[in-house]
Symmetry: C2
Subunit: 510 residues, 2 copies
């Protein structure tokens, strides 16, 4: 497929821009990954699923994409500023009496398992912060050599005032002016005196004696500041300036703002051409939070596992990973998304409607007379529009609405309400290809309503269901209602739904 | 469970020894992982499955085990000696025109996917060589400081003659005497002159200008020798001396021999108390090899995927990961294991027999009168022996044979050939627990004959099969043979097997 014209909302310029990659055929994309000190948050999953769809669509457009998503396994402090906070991984290790790398391994595995359930593709490279200490030390040295940092008692601080004297870039991404920066940069007392200016930030931190994750450097036995890893690793794997940098909206400040500062200091260039931010996930209209509500005693929070297993008091039933993924598609990545039982119930219906329509498209033989018509033109327009929506800042909900309009046509054809002769063979085949591409390749959904994705067992399940549907018809014809009732009742117990249609009976789970 | 007395065959002393861990409750175990430059070899899978069972059994005995298994992503040279060979990962990256870390990511993911299919547990820590360059540089420095290495033109070599002058450890593990070492250490011409002695080996390698994976060090812009990573990472995560070091038999020399040398040089102590080596996997009696046979044109080689999908000309059908895992259990880890279609067919039967017996044990209510008997004593002895076998250098095949003897009793009870009254309730319950522990916890098998391990779909599958077995009985009673024949024929097509027994009909796939 030739590269379609693509528009991306750039958080840096706050405007939708035509996308022009540095290399016409290759794209470099960096997305900030998780800090692996606890189970992955569902809100983070939303971010990674959003960028998974962006990654899939860029590849679908024919680009070769190098997609780098890091694992933060050191340096992310509890209080996010300078040396006052405790390292999140090290703290968890202390509490659980484990080696920090055991904590890292456990939660990295858990993170991968959850994303696999959501059917996200693996990034091309998944570098870790501890795996790039040398590169980070080198970058600190470059920033020092260029005069954009200073050392105090073994720690090294980025000199934001020096950057401000030569450029007005600092604060642009987050839209914060210097006064805001002053106010928002909470200072811990201990290190206030070390910094020349409150908005300066640590890029190398001298370790306290009790600190366990530390490495030799020219300045001290210490560890890198959290923001540094992304600058060092994006530069190593994507170059000094690359195409797309993504992450959750909450990372704009200070994390991404400071990444830009570090790259300016080390390389004297802005690192990223297009900054993209996925918005927050809410639940029942409010920010997710683990603290219990004073009245209900319930926390406004849910884990992926609770969602899949239906064990949360907020949900009436379990929702499969594909239904949750579909639910996320229904809102643009740049808007907040509100999770609720009601919204998931609706998403479940929508998911099955889409999958059912796709199955009809796949199974139904073309039954028209290969003539064109106004219907034909209308369907083609909808398919074109779905692509235009995706190329318009990855507007999934809009593209989805086009597919649903086509799905209505498909069902009408199946049920004989729309004349098959009004749709040409070319259009029918284009519908098949486009549905397949959107559902499986771009949206990254799997059809689990038929027990799909389980290889051999999926086939057995399908075979057994065909057999049962067949027997049900036979015994009805023989007026053996005892047996046909038994089939009906047992399937109901097993949550298998039969749907009688013009071309026979179809089925789905749940 | 209190720690049972355990005996381990120690490759270093060539004798079976009573196992005494350094800490009475905790065990440190290091296993050499894969070099991630190609799809994982089935022979490597055997090694990792062997150590998975060892890991599981140690935990079953009540130990806390820190299990470290590394990923080699740099430094493993094509010719294994000094600087003449090309780095395996870098070579693959050159051939595929990718960043080396993209190669690393792709094959690390593939490795994890295959091991997940084999149901191996994740290690506690899975460190990478590139993630520990600093630790490796520090170890080179220690070895230099202690006088066991010398620098030549930016590369650093381990001084085996210096070690030989102070200790007779070098050569003990592999049983090679100095003359052998001289003969077996193929020297590349370029670096011969740099080494003081042919058996010396590189621990830091100065990179050629074209080399892409390189780091700054006190000696040169270069990369660590392959053997170094395991010394540095085992020391970091398990201490200077730890309990168990495992790997494939082919790693004894030079890899493990050189690890010992490096640790002696850096810390002046032997790193490992118990060296364990898993033996090779053969196919059809011969070493696996990718080069085609001159007569048949077939290579004597098979990948895990070909095995699972049944696409190899060497196999008559696909074998599920659990059948392959069961097959591997049937041979002691210290013996060579010969893969063949015939052996896998037999393993398939054995696997189903074991799973069927376990299902009978789980489903059948105790039907005796709680008296003891000679049968009772015999069964308890077999269960004791299964544990003794495992504690005797992890003798899985022997333990398995005890379980099969118990399985015969279970089937006899089910079929009414053995009086249930001869087995006491305590023994019946002990049989249930022991079978469950061995099959699922220690051997790490899953019951996939009932479509198990697929969560919700497994339940649906089970429900549909119960319904069909029920309908089959009903329609037979009504003399509706058309329907009962249809059920029989369709199940046969789907490869679902019905087994009529005393307590009704059971089923399995395959």
């Amino acid at each position: 497929m030739e590269h379609k014209e693509l528009f991306i909302y750039n958080s840096f310029t706050r405007s939708k821009e035509k996308f022009t990659p540095i290399d016409p055929d290759r794209i470099g994309m960096y997305v900030c990954g998780p800090t692996v000190y606890s189970d992955v948050h569902l809100g983070n999953c939303r971010t990674f699923i959003s960028f998974d769809i962006i990654y899939r669509y860029l590849m679908h457009l024919g680009y070769k994409v190098r997609y780098v998503r890091n694992i933060t396994d050191v340096g992310h402090l509890e209080n996010d500023v300078d040396t006052g906070g405790e390292d999140k991984v090290a703290k968890k290790a202390r509490l659980e009496q484990l080696e920090p790398m055991e904590i890292v391994q456990r939660y990295t595995n858990g993170f991968h398992d959850v994303l696999k359930q959501f059917n996200t593709l693996n990034p091309s490279i998944e570098p870790t912060a501890t795996g790039h200490i040398i590169e980070q030390i080198e970058m600190v040295q470059q920033i020092l050599d260029n005069g954009f940092a200073y050392e105090k008692n073994g720690s090294v601080y980025f000199d934001t005032q020096k950057l401000n004297a030569t450029s007005d870039i600092y604060g642009t991404l987050s839209g914060k002016v210097q006064d805001d920066l002053l106010t928002e940069t909470r200072d811990d007392l201990k290190n206030q005196s070390e910094k020349n200016h409150p908005s300066d930030f640590a890029i190398w931190v001298k370790a306290e004696p009790k600190h366990i994750m530390k490495w030799e450097s020219p300045w001290s036995l210490g560890f890198p500041g959290w923001h540094l890893e992304c600058s060092a690793m994006s530069t190593k794997y994507l170059g000094k300036t690359f195409d797309i940098h993504g992450g959750g909206m909450d990372l704009q400040f200070p994390h991404h703002e400071n990444e830009i500062a570090q790259n300016m200091g080390a390389c004297n260039c802005a690192p990223v051409n297009y900054w993209m931010h996925a918005n927050m996930l809410l639940m029942n209209g409010r920010k997710m939070s683990k603290s219990p509500d004073p009245i209900t005693g319930l926390s406004n929070s849910i884990s992926p596992e609770e969602l899949f297993e239906g064990t949360s008091p907020h949900m009436s039933k379990p929702y499969s990973p594909m239904i949750v993924r579909f639910f996320m598609l229904q809102t643009h990545y740049h808007s907040t998304l509100d999770l609720s039982d009601k919204a998931l119930l609706a998403a479940e219906k929508g998911y099955h409607r889409l999958m059912d329509a796709n199955r009809v498209l796949t199974d139904l033989a073309y039954g028209g007379n290969d003539q064109s018509s106004e219907e034909d033109v209308e369907i083609n327009k909808l398919l074109d529009q779905a692509y235009e929506d995706m190329s318009n800042d990855f507007n999934c909900p809009q593209a989805l609405s086009r597919l649903f309009m086509v799905a209505t046509k498909i069902n009408a054809i199946k049920n004989g309400q729309l004349d098959f002769n009004l749709v040409s063979r070319t259009t029918w085949e284009r519908m098949q290809t486009t549905f397949h591409n959107f559902i499986f390749e771009i949206f990254g959904l799997k059809d689990d309503s038929h027990g799909g994705g389980n290889g051999a067992n999926g086939e057995v399940l399908d075979g057994l269901m065909k057999l049962l549907i067949d027997i049900r018809q036979d015994v009805r014809a023989k007026k053996d209602f005892e047996t046909s009732d038994k089939i009906r009742d047992t399937l109901k117990e097993l949550n298998v739904i039969l749907k009688d249609g013009k071309d026979g009976t179809d089925w789905s789970i749940g």
